[in-house]
């Protein structure tokens, strides 16, 4: 079943104007829901909307992009929210989709309040049932599956990375760009963004949206080289437990957990990770879970699809070398 009003997608991008990975997944989901009603994008004009990105969006089936030209910094949630409200109105959309991130959730809460929309965060699926949007999501650290219907006329849904596989439309479309001048209220300007420092790219996939993640915990004893080696053999992102980040073995931005980065990759490998509930809350919804730990009683083995009781310093390098050999 598809919807009758257009679906609007917030097009997260890097400071130099590249689409963030999960945006293509969210656009794909939007296209499946929208049918003939059409998928529209909304782009904050802090970065240029380049021809290559427009071509990519056209291939994904985005018919129009509303380019937000705001008179305040759209990194501020109150500013972004007011801009999105105006974009929703301009697009005549009944659904706003964003990638799930803390920043987008801040804006989502505000948009929902201002427009009377119902809001669901961290959805891993979305469908139209009897004219209502019904989102699926896991709760309680990935131990329960729920489906949540939006009962209001407008819905705001933030979608987890890896929820759907990005795919091009049956036929590419020409994407029209429409500028939307946004004047924000005085209220939205009361927070000053004193500083914003983008984190430099690591050369590995982004942890929050990677298809494969290798994580290290206490068992690494601070030596992440086997974790990084296997990650490189798998083309994976590197993550860590709270213990590892608190010890300073790796940056805080690598912390997987219910208060850190929540991930749901196709494959998760935990090395020297005990599987404390705080960590499980951030990764238990992963597709396949592999655990390597020298402690046979580690709780992570309770949720592992493939568990090895063994020394990560021998098992990981052996696996990495074998994967490289098989790849030729």
């Amino acid at each position: 079943m598809t919807t009758t009003a257009p679906v609007l997608v917030l097009l997260d991008h890097t400071p130099d104007g590249a689409l963030r990975g999960p945006v293509r997944e969210v656009v794909t989901l939007a296209r499946e829901l929208a049918g003939n009603a059409g998928v529209l994008g909304v782009w904050a004009a802090d970065a240029e909307l380049g021809a290559d990105v427009l071509a990519d969006l056209g291939a994904l089936g985005v018919t129009r992009v509303h380019r937000l030209v705001a008179d305040a910094d759209t990194h501020l949630s109150a500013v972004l929210a007011e801009a999105l409200e105006q974009a929703l109105a301009a697009a005549g959309a009944g659904l706003l989709l964003t990638v799930s991130s803390f920043e987008n959730k801040e804006a989502a809460a505000r948009v929902a309040l201002a427009t009377g929309a119902g809001v669901v965060t961290d959805a891993d699926g979305l469908e139209v049932v009897d004219g209502r949007y019904v989102a699926s999501k896991t709760v309680f650290a990935g131990t329960w599956n729920t489906r949540c219907a939006v009962t209001a006329p407008v819905a705001v849904v933030t979608v987890k990375a890896n929820a759907v596989q990005a795919s091009p439309a049956a036929a590419p479309v020409a994407t029209e760009v429409v500028d939307l001048a946004v004047t924000v209220s005085a209220v939205a300007r009361r927070v000053t963004l004193v500083e914003r420092v983008e984190r430099p790219a690591s050369g590995r996939p982004d942890l929050g949206s990677a298809h494969v993640v290798v994580a290290g915990g206490r068992g690494t004893e601070g030596d992440f080289s086997p974790v990084e080696d296997l990650a490189d053999a798998l083309g994976a992102a590197v993550g860590a437990t709270r213990v590892a980040t608190d010890e300073g073995w790796i940056g805080h931005d690598a912390q997987i957990g219910q208060t850190g980065v929540t991930i749901s990759p196709r494959l998760y490998v935990g090395a020297g990770v005990s599987g404390a509930v705080h960590h499980r809350g951030g990764m238990q919804a992963s597709g396949t879970i592999v655990a390597v730990n020298s402690d046979p009683d580690a709780p992570i083995f309770e949720i592992a699809d493939f568990g090895v009781v063994g020394d990560l310093f021998t098992v990981l390098p052996q696996a990495a070398a074998e994967l490289r050999r098989l790849k030729g």
């Binding site: 009377g116 329960w144 219907a149 982004d206 805080h252 396949t288 009781v309 063994g310 994967l323 098989l326």
Partner: protein, 263 residues
Amino acid sequence: MPRVRIVVCVKHVPDIQSERALGPDRRVVRDGGDGTLNELDENALEAALSIAEARDDAEVVVLTVGPDDAVDAVRKGLQMGADEAVHVVDDAIAGSDVIGTARVLAAAVQHVGDVDLVVTGMAGLDGLTSLLPTALAQLLDLPALPLAAELTVDGGTVRVRRNLDHATEVLEASLPALVSVTDQANEPRYPNFKGIMAARKKQVTTLTLADLGVDASTVGAAGARTEVVDAAARPPRENRVLLTDEGDAGLRLAAYLVEQKLV
């Protein structure tokens, strides 16, 4: 220094170490006796108490919305050192979505009155939406500075450093304002004997929706804009492989990943 009033919003949630469940009504089971103060709210309390201690005349009010058992959450706040506690309890609140909860909290903060700073945790460990802080700020018409990993209040200015997925930001605003703090912000104190004894003499003010002038139809299941239509415990994973390394576990792992088409 001028008088400063800080309200800390806390939540009573099922203990994450317990078997958490959704009931036949598809709502969080909250009466299993495994309830506790949301761990992340301890960071909010610690932040508020530290700010208050650096001042001569500051008071900390701990506020919660929830069923009878939720009073335990504000009692823990009093034990940690909060001066006053407010518990909003009303049958009509059950089934609220995050917007409904924010409405009740906003009315309660206004009821407390003359509030300079509202502090919340970064998320409730039951729902983990992180929607509440900004929704509450919007309802209270306050500037929001969410996800503080560092927080300073200097005179009438609040400044926050926050770590996002792709960037680090510093935000600043004038009081009154709302902040949410992360578990990186501080190390929460444990209530000591003195604190526990002192808390016994502190009053918990209990309020209903009528006391707050909140229309019951705008909160609870009646006011919710979302409805959980299905809930089921996730089935256990099938075809699991557990082995002890006998020298070839790395090879077997590689073979498994290839066989499962994960590489």
